[in-house]
Symmetry: C2
Subunit: 206 residues, 2 copies
Amino acid sequence: MIPFVKKSIPRNTVYRLSLYHHCLEGPDGGSISSEALAGLARVKPTQLRKDLAWCGSLGKRGTGYDISTLRRRLAETLGTSALQPVVLVGTGRMGSALLRFRENFSRRGFDIAAAFDTRPDRRSRIASVPLFPMSSLARFVNERSVRLAILCVPGVAAQDVCNALVACGIQAILNFAPIVLQTPEQIAVNNVNVAIELENLSYFLK
Amino acid sequence: MIPFVKKSIPRNTVYRLSLYHHCLEGPDGGSISSEALAGLARVKPTQLRKDLAWCGSLGKRGTGYDISTLRRRLAETLGTSALQPVVLVGTGRMGSALLRFRENFSRRGFDIAAAFDTRPDRRSRIASVPLFPMSSLARFVNERSVRLAILCVPGVAAQDVCNALVACGIQAILNFAPIVLQTPEQIAVNNVNVAIELENLSYFLK
DNA sequence: CTGTGTGAAGGCTTTCACAGCC
DNA sequence: GGCTGTGAAAGCCTTCACACAG
């Protein structure tokens, strides 16, 4: 007997599914054709249809996709139907800036439950997110079963903090520190590195 | 006669070349093997060697790659040997935070030459970068031949500002606004979208 | 004997073409 | 008639295997 393997969605496709989800924030009610949605997301219509096939056959021929159904199904597929708690570590310029966008994230299914810093100075909250010292990170993560972390500490501290996050059970990290984190296989890491993005763009200058 | 076509470096490879360049900031002098550098960048050694082959044959068999030669060649290939002027538009939380990292960028070959905002209030500089009203954007870009822009305005304003940037000759945009920009083919756009990154990570949670 | 450079193979993604349903 | 779903083809990227330089 051939073992059943649930083939997982290709990485690029997962990325584009988030993108489609994002593009559906504007339009409300009714349907949208693959061509229209592909235009918003700047991809080819055939690619969009192939991608959406991973979420099941939910388009109507001759009509397109029902927007609210599609939105729901995308959230289910990506795992953002239920509100997901997130911790943010490092409340320097970048970390604080991100905390101000919290409603943006909560609309997308992410709740920044707490922020941590080595030096939580006077304030106990930033943009209404409670701020704690690093020493209480592990306990908070455990008690609230947090699986996602945003890392905004300076480069020199990043690997140590990353190790601490992994040790207390974090499964995925969005890394703003300008270093490549060394993590075990099973930890998912996405990097946001402005210098690399600029360098990458400069290759395409004429 | 077969026309000579300079095959361009694949997108993923360009991205990884930036990554390697970045990983070489620490070690100084001497050589490094493909295995060691691949470990720092978290890729496979064979992939690294294939990627570096786009920069020419610069490894020594039995030894590895000379670090300073490699760094120089990567910068040449990516087009960051000469200092590249960049404009930043939108000095809200995110824009201001980025301006504080300017030395980080200048070390990598990018000079944030000016920042622009609709409401440049009292200050004429942020983190020593001169701040101008939007009305002087076109002139500045033209006079200084700026080709790269960082876009940090709110989503509702982003497309308009993007159009203005394209109109005055900007060739590449690093977009922090949470929308998909509609631009002509030839403009390179990289997006930094925290909500999408989080959504993407949440797919990989167990 | 170590570690690079590279054709060839394999695997994955995108695009095409068109059948099928509304 | 319009638009989706999907096998097949094409294209691209990664990995392998190994020749060969230092």
